[in-house]
Symmetry: C2
Subunit: 307 residues, 2 copies
């Protein structure tokens, strides 16, 4: 019998600054109910789901900054989502800004049966630590978030081994490889990606292509499923890419969101689809040659000096 897992991705439309936590959580509960009604066992929400994507603004007032962070999880505002998850037996991934004592992380949690069973803190923090002159849109994640300190853990969630990453992490092959080496079945990822991110003056079709391309290649190269959830639409005047999707170990998109609004997509994933690859072309134990990969950990930046 096939080992399957029914996955859903809950893309959201924009979360504006005036939306309260309570309003946002009510939307997420509706999405979770919709996923449950289709039979999904897990649902993936975006990065920093509970508020607008505040790193687009340079803020120096600590109280203002802290208003975007969660000091406890669940909090009274987010508890309804945990309770609904428990009652409907649907697990979820949720991205949020985590205040841990005085430390600030861009984090995600894995919740099952109403309980947190895993946490991840974003490692590849993009953008800048200070506002840049002449940038039409700032991207100040390095100002607000420390580099994550939990590595890329993979959690045994009963039917499947689940790993997490967040937004920019998805563009880096190391992210998935570290999880692939832990025999991950499913990588969940939420993201907020302004269309203008990168400021390259590049053709308008590229941000969407460059979102799905690493997802597809990494699912194939690491013999796993990837479920990716965007916060999409025009948020505080800034257009964000959508393109939420579930990607198979073949490197193919199984299902994708076509809207830029709140939208649930779902797919019954054959977890054994990866086995042919794992046992043959991507049998890591037989074919990988770590003695030739040392530069990946010994060198950080690109450098023309010989290895």
């Amino acid at each position: 019998m096939k080992r399957t897992l029914h996955l859903a991705v809950a893309q959201t439309g924009p979360i504006q600054a005036h939306h309260s936590r309570k309003e946002v959580v009510a939307r997420l509960c509706e999405l979770l109910k919709e996923a449950a009604s289709r039979g999904a066992r897990w649902v993936v929400f975006p990065e920093l789901t509970l508020t607008t994507f505040f790193p687009r603004w340079s803020m120096d007032d600590p109280a203002q900054v802290r208003s975007y962070f969660e000091a406890e999880m669940p909090s009274p505002e987010t508890l309804p989502l945990f309770e609904l998850s428990r009652d409907l037996q649907v697990g979820f991934y949720l991205g949020y800004a985590e205040l841990a004592g005085e430390r600030q992380f861009n984090s995600s949690i894995l919740v099952d049966g109403g309980k947190i069973i895993g946490k991840y803190r974003k490692i590849h923090i993009p953008g800048d630590a200070q506002a840049q002159e002449n940038y039409p849109v700032q991207h100040l994640e390095k100002k607000y978030f420390e580099v994550g300190d939990l590595g890329f853990p993979v959690f045994d969630a009963g039917e499947a081994r689940i790993g997490m990453c967040i937004c920019n992490d998805r563009r880096w092959p190391e992210t998935y490889r570290v999880m692939g080496l832990q025999a991950v079945d499913i990588v969940m990822v939420g993201y907020n990606t302004p269309v203008a991110y990168g400021r390259l003056g590049e053709p308008a079709h590229l941000p969407a292509l460059q979102n799905q391309l690493p997802l597809k290649a990494s699912a194939y190269q690491n013999t796993c499923w990837i479920a990716a959830a965007a916060k999409a639409g025009v948020e505080e005047g800034i257009p964000m890419i959508g393109g939420s999707c579930i990607v198979a170990p073949t490197g193919e998109i199984a299902v994708q969101a076509l809207s830029e609004d709140d939208e649930v997509i779902n797919y019954v994933c054959d977890l054994d689809l990866a086995n042919g690859y794992r046992n043959n072309i991507f049998n890591f134990a037989r074919h990988r040659r770590p003695e030739h990969y040392k530069a990946i950990v010994e060198r950080t930046g690109a450098d023309t000096t010989p290895l």
Copy 2:
């Protein structure tokens, strides 16, 4: 002024067992002349270009095996290609079976001005060391080739920094990352890929998709151009994929071969196209976190034990 380099890829049709080195080299010379006539500065030939893809056969007679290898490079048979390269000022990448004393490698060389300026020996050797029962097509590279011992070097070839890999190497993200960390501008790769490789009983459209997918993602993730040359068509009864292409740092295919025969494709590559990525989203020095990548070198196979 843009820093450009005119690249060509010379896909070949099948090389059958009865084709002599002299016949093959004559075909390669025609392809090199065609590339030169279009203004190309470099041309990429396939893997194991000089003979049929012999690892499909299990051979135990040392003399028979050695007949597929080159004990010297250039040899009298291959010298015309070197001379033509010198005369037309077109550099080339050529894959061939290398006999180094008693050692056997699946190798490639970079030739410019008629001289070898770089060598690579394939690291990710696929397939088996012994013939497998019930396989319709054998893939015995592990029988014939040692794992390469030269790492993934990048060569300063004047106008550009050029790296090489061979066939199955192109599916492994570590291949490109080690070269990306050496600020590679262009990765050249030749391949022989039977349509049935992998023996997964998978849908027929996947081998072509899974060829180009890692090329596209890796060009994007490592801010380089990739020039990939297939040996295509039905060789000794075995259908091979084509799909030779030149891929840009945007993750897009710039040009691809549509035939399964001898065919030259070419593109004037803007080597500075990568700079926007290198200075921003893929500024490795600013964003990579090798302290979280250790598993990539410390673990070979996939393993459910925690890191």
